[in-house]
């Protein structure tokens, strides 16, 4: 896959606008300040992802939403279990820690967080590109991050030698950290950039 510097910059801008909306939504939802890193655009072999996310068997809460419409793709939000616990506690205004592995209320709250984040991201993308995009229902795994990501990236049974994705870190004060990843399907990146005249 050939990608020019100009396209990379455009993708980073997409990431900036989309993730900015997502961060604002999270901030509103949790009534906390959320900071966002400068989005990074990666074009790497998937097997090198450990270099970005670190230990593959660290437990993380991963919310996966499929992006549907004329430029389909995948959106993933993942955070360390401790951060996810804080998010859930904040949402329920509860003093006690809920068990993310078993508590269905906590799990559906996390899915809802993912839904809100991804919807805001997609709304920004649609405004920007004019391409209508819709989120699927969210799915959740609280498990080893490597296992969750391999299932998402390999789901279609195909894997390009380089995968392209946008990655943004979200940091809440205090003690919330998460990562938002957008992975356009084959051809979607060209469609998004094309719609923006790039």
């Amino acid at each position: 896959m050939e990608i020019t510097q100009f396209q990379l910059d455009a993708l980073r801008e997409i990431g900036n606008i989309g993730s900015g909306h997502a961060a604002t939504a999270l901030s509103t939802l949790l009534q906390r300040r959320i900071e966002m890193s400068v989005p990074k655009v990666w074009a790497i072999p998937f097997e090198q992802i450990a270099g970005i996310i670190g230990q593959l068997d660290t437990p993380q809460a991963t919310i996966y939403v499929k992006v549907e419409g004329e430029a389909p793709g995948k959106a993933v939000f993942f955070f360390p279990v401790e951060s996810a616990e804080i998010v859930v506690q904040t949402l329920f205004g509860s003093k006690e820690t809920m068990d993310l592995y078993t508590d269905e209320m906590a799990q559906s709250a996390l899915k809802e967080v993912g839904n809100i984040l991804v919807s805001s991201f997609l709304m920004a993308l649609t405004q920007f590109s004019g391409i209508p995009l819709q989120p699927s229902v969210p799915a959740l795994a609280v498990d080893m991050i490597g296992a969750s990501l391999d299932a998402i990236f390999l789901e279609d049974g195909m894997l390009d030698d380089t995968v392209l994705f946008i990655d943004t870190q979200l940091t809440g004060i205090p003690k919330i950290e998460g990562q938002f990843v957008f992975l356009p399907d084959q051809g979607s990146m060209e469609r998004l950039l094309g719609a923006m005249g790039i």
Binding site: P45, Q55, D143, A147, M158
Partner: protein, 161 residues
């Protein structure tokens, strides 16, 4: 004697001699293939991601069950192992996510497990243990000396098979 733990990455394969261990972390729909010659106490591990290189988008052959197994076997045999003595254990092939109302037609974890099964049979290597399926991640350690495969999960216990 010092035991070395040799780490196998995604789309990667390594060999080892007793008493060293081979490990791979965070298997989801991927599969860890462990093979050893119990007489010589040598073996190897591959971490495959997809069923077959044919009709695929190409790239690193260690990504695919069929080509990765060929590569791994070549190295194990080069260490002096006898093909007729080789035995295999595998783990992984989970389905981590499910979307209500849309059953995935061809789950990649299941397809990987079937492909590994088929390729091992093609090479005439008996499959002693297949810890596959489920909806949880696995980290595995394989002892090429004893043949023990330790499977660790986050919320589904730990076992040695």
């Amino acid at each position: 004697m010092n035991v070395v733990v040799i780490s196998v990455g995604m789309a990667d394969y390594k060999t080892a001699k007793a008493p060293d261990l081979l490990m791979t972390a965070g298997l989801g729909s991927c599969i860890g293939i462990c093979i050893r010659d119990p007489f010589l106490k040598v073996g190897g591990m591959a971490h495959i991601m997809l069923p077959t290189a044919s009709g695929s988008l190409g790239g690193n052959p260690a990504k695919y069950a069929d080509t990765a197994l060929e590569l791994l076997l070549r190295e194990i045999l080069a260490m002096g192992a006898n093909k007729s003595r080789l035995r295999a254990k595998i783990a992984g092939g989970a389905q981590m996510f499910s979307f209500p109302g849309r059953p995935p037609v061809l789950k990649i974890g299941d397809r990987n497990a079937e492909a590994v099964d088929r390729e091992l049979e093609k090479h005439g290597i008996p499959l002693l243990v297949a810890e596959v399926g489920g909806s949880f991640g696995r980290t595995i350690h394989f002892d090429v000396g004893t043949g023990e495969l330790r499977i660790r999960t986050i919320n589904h216990g730990e076992k040695v098979v």
